[in-house]
Amino acid sequence: MDTVLLVFAGALLTALATGLGALPFAFVRSVSTRTIAYSNALASGLMLGASFGLVAEGTQFGAVQTILGGMAGVAFILLTERVLRARDIQFGEVHGDGARSMALILIVMTVHSFAEGVAVGVSFGGSMSLALLIVVAIAVHNIPEGIAISAVLRPRGVSVAGCAGWSIASSLPQPIMAVPAFLAVGAFAPLLPYGIGFAAGAMVFMVFEELLPEAYERGRKAGVALLAALTLVGMMVFQQWL
């Protein structure tokens, strides 16, 4: 029973770490088009790098399953967009396209946390000896995800505290999924490549369909490309180092 509590506490801690991603945006005040462009580029690089890392992990469990999961992830985004487009959603004081991007990134990152929660549970399932290391690694790994979310929310007028709150909320599925995955590694492990592929497919598709086109429209392409390419490589190195 104690270990279950430990897994839950560990996963909860990693979820809270996501909120730290809002901190760098304490210095971003202006809602200028250029801020949106470069924030989008930053989020794109982080999400592409994270997806590359996820795919590399998922293919170790099964390449075909990962790709199938990825296709489901793309379908999920298309469906979500259809639902979001059908009604005029409002996010704080933002309407229309901006609000849709904000809602979409929260949905994408929340759904992606389910897969990560399973990954946490399964990796705990191996042994408890590395538990602390895994918790710290995932907690640190979650910070850039908070940055990606805040990069989309903050320039559109959400407060820093709000960004932190939404970032943490998007990671809450991690503790929720980690416990059952830990208790039933045998049942969850085969699902892992599908879940990982789903998360990666949804993130990559969102980058190409929503974040990058808007970034190119509003910013200089050299700046957007440099920022996204550097963060992608940085994220890959960061994940490997953990």
């Binding site: 990559v204 190409f208 369909e209 392409k221 050299a222 190195v237």
Partner: protein
Amino acid sequence: MDLTITVLVYSSLAAAAAALGAAPLLVRERLPIALIGWSNALAAGLMLGAAYALLLVALEPGSGPGAGGALLGIGFVYWTRAASRTTELELNRLEEMSPDYGYKILLVNTVHSSAEGVAIGAAMAVNLPFGVLVALAIAAHNVPEGTVLCAVLTSRGVRLSDAVGLAVVTNVTQVLLAVVTFAIVVAEPSVLPWALGVAAGALVFLVLFELLPECYRQAGPRSIAMVTIVAMGIVVLLSEQGI
């Protein structure tokens, strides 16, 4: 067959694949703009898939050299474009532009394909199946790229046969750098992660800087995203079967 010759043959075939890109222009003199957009997206997805595979191998022995190489690759492409005053150049203009536009496009394409040469050469040094996979991805990527380049050149009054020739010739740097990179890496294996990193960084940056910005002006973001992600998925799947 000596491996250097293998590298020469595969990179030459990949370079020559650009000629296939002229095929749509035989059917229609002026291509629909969306088709050019999808060609760019297809090229972008194949290139990103290759970059993914290269980056994973580059970072395997430890992140320092691979990451250092990636920074060099990004920096090299950015610097060549900035130094040649082509950072703001739109690459796919079919209507009338200043007389030197055609030459600038040829220059940009030549720099672009030299990065692909490093990718093929470094990948061949990892092992043959991986090298063939990357060469295949680059070759497939050269086809839609050839389509776009031929469309731009013929719209400027270049004869189609000459445009095809030029599309292949801009890829000569690809063959050259593939062979040179391979020779260097075989002679000094410790530079392999650097070379892989340079290739991966350059490919990622080329996609984000040259291909995707053009795409979104030519077709809707949804179709562009779809073509790009499918092309990426195919390369990822093949790279997992290959290694």
